[in-house]
């Protein structure tokens, strides 16, 4: 038998292993680098380039690239660089949180539906219901009911942020729920779940410890796609008056506003478009890497 006196390490935080594996995934590293650059640009950028994104300068309308305005100005003379940075902050935080919420809801509902037989029928019918609900009236209703109470308790921006995030999250979890449910149904029959049951693990810990970690990979895919749609949906929401105050830039809105003028000022369309695509791509690759890294079977190889 093996030596028991050999030196040994105490259990090490498994996130180190994850990171070690993650580092070996080239795409993921590139993705992470780009993502970090984007985040840094958004967070640190405004310190270096401290022009207010909402500052209207009517003498400098529709300017091209210049020293004063590296990315030019828009039709009201607002600095596009500053707007891109401010917009990124909003878009990314909305995208990430809304995606987080959608994933949370979808996963919860999917897991409950998959794990508890009795809940499956009602929950899946509810999923159908949400898929069928007309989005626009639902969103408008949400604004009507919650805009004021929320902005009262969290300030106008915080309140609207919450509202947007909930609105997007609450209307985009269905796909995830469906996928997760399918996976859970299969996982439930696996023997290690039975093994945990023989130990007396109660249902909630069973789900947290044994089911959830094993449905990470489809969740990760949904998450990647979720960010993209959340960023786009946010811009759609502002056309319902549900978005942030109208002078508040977001990537989605910058893109939409510029589309009409695409012939005159193509760069104004390209910039936010590229920003969104880059974010989505980098998140996608990070997701790929993370999925591999989180799977100890792949990690060990």
């Amino acid at each position: 038998m093996t030596e028991t006196t050999a030196t040994f390490r105490p259990p090490r935080n498994q996130w180190w292993d994850v990171w070690d594996q993650f580092k070996t995934h080239k795409g993921a590293l590139v993705g992470l680098t780009i993502f970090v650059i984007i985040i840094a640009g958004i967070l640190i950028g405004p310190w270096l380039w401290d022009m207010a994104p909402t500052y209207v300068d009517l003498r400098a309308r529709n300017k091209g690239f210049s020293m004063a305005h590296p990315l030019g100005t828009d039709q009201l003379g607002r600095d596009i660089l500053a707007r891109m940075m401010a917009g990124g902050k909003v878009s990314l935080s909305v995208g990430l949180t809304a995606m987080g919420l959608a994933i949370f809801l979808g996963t919860t509902i999917g897991v409950l539906a998959g794990y508890f037989r009795r809940l499956e029928g009602p929950l899946m019918r509810m999923t159908d219901l949400f898929l069928a609900l007309p989005l626009l009236p639902l969103l408008l209703l949400m604004v009507t009911l919650f805009r004021e109470p929320l902005s009262k308790s969290f300030g106008p921006e915080g309140g609207i942020f919450l509202l947007i995030v909930t609105a997007i999250g609450a209307t985009s979890w269905m796909q995830t729920a469906r996928i997760v449910r399918g996976e859970v149904l299969a996982l439930k029959e696996r023997e290690f779940v039975l093994a945990a049951r023989s130990i007396g693990t109660p249902a909630h810990r069973m789900v947290l410890r044994h089911i959830l970690p094993n449905v990470m990979s489809p969740i990760m895919v949904s998450a990647t796609l979720g960010i993209a749609s959340a960023i786009i949906t946010e811009s759609a929401l502002s056309f319902l008056g549900l978005g942030f105050p109208p002078d508040f830039p977001t990537w989605g809105r910058l893109l939409f506003d510029a589309v009409d003028q695409i012939q005159l000022y193509p760069m104004r369309v390209v910039l936010p478009g590229v920003a969104i695509s880059l974010t989505v791509l980098s998140v996608n690759y990070i997701g790929d890497g993370l999925r591999d890294a989180l799977d100890p079977r792949i990690r060990g190889r």
């Binding site: 038998m1 070996t24 060990g300 190889r301």
Partner: protein, 357 residues
Amino acid sequence: MPRKTVQKQKTGGLMRDRAQPVLEVTNLKTIFRTRGGEVHAVNSVSFDLKPGELLGVVGESGSGKSVTMMSLIGLLPSPPAEVREGRVMFDGLDLLKCTPAQLRAVRGPGVGFIFQDPMTSLNPVFTVGYQLREPLIKHMGMTKAQAQVRAKELLDLVGIPDAAQRLRDYPHQFSGGMRQRVMIAIALACDPKVLIADEPTTALDVTIQAQILELVKDLRQKLGMAIVWITHDLGVIAGIADRVMVMYGGQIAEQGPVKEVFARPRHPYTRALLQTVPSVRGERADKLNVIEGQPPILRAAPTACPFRDRCTTRFETCDRANPARSPVGPGHDAACFWDFDASAPRTDALIKEAAHG
């Protein structure tokens, strides 16, 4: 590799002395490229197979039995697998050098393969009949109707009752034993010269296993093909094989006629293996013998004996060189520096070479 005649045996009764081997493998090396580096799964394996012969292959899990056989007809996924060197002569054709089309022509009519796991080796969405007809239509040039007739015959042959009906069923509608028989039928479809059976009965229980063993004996008599039978179960080998090949750590540890090897094992691994198995008959030991330790991790081609860490008769030469196979009896060779008859290191050319090199 020494080409010695194998003693004639009663079983099968189709031994052909001095016959040309149908399959001749020389110095086969297969590696896997993985993130953690290369895995040398098969190292310089050489063996041959004569027409009508049943070669048993035993060895611990992971010793490279399946990989060796799959390398022969290029069935390993590549990447990560890579056949580094070696020569596989079949019917005058080097299977490692021929074109994919030539290789495809060999698979099926030349070499039939029964895979380890009958549960997953059949395509779940096609009927058994379809899967049986496929090679018939492709290789035997049959029409669909002809193939259907032949498929029914094949199922009858492997002893599935009500064959005509069952052709329309899907694999999941068969029990494990029946699926394994279907796999055998597929492998036999084109009357292969060589049949490679990779642990065809491991997943089955004894009564079903007994049925299949009977079937194979039967078929061999009827069709006269050469068979490679991979298994862990020494009992099975004892029952059906003419010759046995013991693999360890990607190499052949010992090879020889079944009775010879079982009676006078010349490799410590074979010896240990034979001792671990309890029996349903005879004396019952108080404690089972075990082979202590772990099989080697094949990160590189071994430069020393791969079994040395678990060997009871290890001595310094074992750490220095990897023993080559050398004859220890008629048609019997082993890769070990220890002489069990003398209970001392060998004294012949093999050890001298190693001691110098």
